[in-house]
Symmetry: C2
Subunit: 108 residues, 2 copies
């Protein structure tokens, strides 16, 4: 997708997605959740590893969710977050400089 000059709208969209990723805390949260055996984690489970207050973690989770990188599922009093690999893959594909191989980005 980085072949021709990006349109204003495309650039803004891609930048918004990258902005969600461009934070060390959010990257750690994302990788932490992805690394769970069940592939999911509730907020209270994430707070300790990153060493920040619960509201702050909640805020980051919200940003990641809004960016489509995490999906949210409420189960009782808990809220479980799970990574959306397709979304991450789409962002990676958007950064490809070499012509996108037809197969690689196909599965949505």
């Amino acid at each position: 997708m980085l072949q021709g000059t990006l349109s204003k709208r495309d650039a803004e969209e891609l930048a918004a997605a990258l902005k969600a990723l461009a934070d060390p805390i959010r990257l750690r949260v994302l990788s932490f959740i992805a690394a769970q055996p069940e592939g999911e984690a509730c907020v209270c489970h994430v707070t300790a590893p990153v060493g920040l207050s619960q509201p702050t973690v909640s805020h980051h989770l919200k940003l990641l969710h809004t960016a489509g990188l995490l999906e949210r599922e409420k189960r009782g009093a808990w809220v479980y977050y799970r990574v959306v690999p397709e979304r991450l893959e789409a962002i990676r594909a958007a950064l490809a400089t070499t012509p996108v191989r037809p197969r690689a980005a196909k599965r949505a």
Copy 2:
């Protein structure tokens, strides 16, 4: 690289690289330069397409250069910038969730 939980340092490094990309102007600048037939462009050539002042464009170019995404070459009064595809590729590789195929990330 997004397999285990990212270390603090790795997360900060990757976040810094993504921060350089996470701006619509910089994405457009990057794609614009990459789209040039010669693969390079001088500052004055970039200013008009993005519609911002010269100091602002210079600032963005500096950020991209600092992040290792652009290389700088001075030729007379002009300064030419060129995309460093390996750097972009490294960032893409760092975002891979699926186990990295041994071949893909090999060429540094």
